[in-house]
Amino acid sequence: MLALIDYGSGNIRSVTNALKREGADVELVSDPARLAAAEAIVLPGVGAFGDCVRGLQSRRLWEPLAEWLAADRPFLGICVGYQMLFEESEESPGVRGFGFFGGAVKRFTTPGLKVPQIGWNQLDLAAPAHSLWRGLPPHPHVYFVHSFFPDPSEGAIVTARSTYGETFAASAARGRAAGVQFHPEKSQAVGLAILRNFIASVPARALAGQG
């Protein structure tokens, strides 16, 4: 079973639809006890960094997710679900992220730039061989909606970059955990391929879709 974390953060219907379409046995999980049955986790996130962290904490999901990450199990964070993998965010000073990746989340500050970035921007695949990118064209377009972006302290974790005023880490990964700043569930064929690749990276029994 693929656990899609449901913690009151925005609309997760499209993520559910997209994962199901790609063959995953998706379950919306808000009860930490259900994680025992999960082989993979997708953590979406819409809204403010601090609200998302508190949403996970108040549902007692924070510690189990931190343990999951530490155990190097299959994990995909989307948008703020990706940003929370870092140490902190300028959006919510004083609120700690998972710190799974070093570095902080920053706001776009280039003068004259419209914020949020809304729309389709191109990826530079910094790690073209990463499993998430299998089958993609060299510079695929994906859909972004965000005002903040992670600035990793370590370049080696960056798997894709994108440029909006400044170049930022559009995706990062370590072991079986990855995060993307864009919305694969809103990125048409390219986005569906990325989700398909994530599902394919999970041990086979999770995909069977028995449910």
């Binding site: 949020p116 073209p128 960056v158 064929a189």
Partner: protein, 289 residues
């Protein structure tokens, strides 16, 4: 540099390289957005602004079928307007959005008849990503901030119907362009953004449905006045109109209905035309697996 080399090299940090930035052709692309006016579960199109209610509608088909067609053509987003704007219409719209969201993995915006945060919530739950409000935002500006606080600014689009009422003066109208509000279009756009709107749709009433081209002056003024994206709507008759509003009009996206519905142009045609004229767009991409 071979594949993966960049990844292995810790020196290749994400710190921006000014030189590579200057030479990069990669940037946020301009969006092409088909708009579907939905009346009683069918897509319709009035010949000119406000005529819909007067029986000047042309029925152009099933919204979900059209949405799938535009999705396949590479539309960057889709907008659905409930022009019934009744409780019954809202129920129909929820069904349309649910069915569209099951097939089209792209951003969907819904507008028309949204008067409360609960209406927004129902649309978002059915699969919409953004909510567009127009006259209800004028009647109750607090609705903008309430929506933005609850769902985030990126969710809240304020749509403005503007009409040139005097030289160098554009006024906001409601009720299909019939009722003046006394609001200055630029000032209202600024206020909407201050209250939390994450995007502005500017519908030029003079131009809407006439196919004479977008109003470039007011589009540019609003785009330069606000720090959020501006979507130009109303008046697309030729592909050059779209080039003009994205280049001279400084719009971030174009929204159009008629030229797509009646099969004059596909979304792909539009994008190829824009690309040929130097407008950055997302062209079809092939996925190999």
């Amino acid at each position: 540099m071979g594949p993966g080399e960049d990844f292995k090299n810790p020196a290749a940090s994400v710190k921006p390289n000014p030189l590579s930035r200057l030479h990069s052709t990669k940037m946020l692309t301009k969006r092409v957005i088909p708009c579907l006016d939905v009346h009683d579960g069918k897509v319709t199109r009035g010949l000119q602004f406000g005529r819909a209610e007067e029986g000047g509608l042309r029925n152009v088909g099933d919204p979900v079928e059209l949405a799938i067609r535009y999705n396949d053509q590479g539309a960057d987003e889709m907008v659905f307007f409930d022009i019934t704007a009744s409780a019954h219409g809202r129920g129909t719209m929820i069904d349309v959005i649910e069915r569209t969201a099951a097939h089209c993995f792209m951003p969907l915006t819904v507008g028309g008849g949204i008067r409360a945060v609960e209406d927004m919530s129902a649309m978002l739950k059915s699969g919409a990503d953004k909510i567009s409000i127009n006259s209800s935002a004028i009647a109750t500006p607090e609705l903008i901030s309430a929506g933005a606080e609850r769902f985030g600014s990126q969710c809240i689009v304020v749509s403005i119907d503007a009409k040139k009422t005097a030289p160098d003066c554009w006024e906001v109208f409601v009720q299909g362009g019939r009722k003046p509000t006394g609001l200055d279009a630029v000032a209202w756009a600024e206020e909407a953004v201050r209250r939390g709107a994450g995007e502005i749709v500017l519908n030029s009433i003079d131009a809407d449905g006439t196919k004479a081209g977008y109003d470039l002056v007011i589009t540019r003024r609003i785009s330069e006045a606000v720090g959020v994206p501006v979507v130009a709507s109303g008046g697309a008759g030729t592909l050059d109109h779209m080039v003009a509003v994205l280049a001279e009009g400084k719009a971030d996206a174009v929204l159009a209905a008629s030229i797509f519905h009646f099969g004059e142009y596909t979304v792909t045609d539009v994008k190829h035309h824009l690309a040929r004229h130097g407008v950055p767009v997302r062209l079809p991409e092939t996925v190999a697996n």
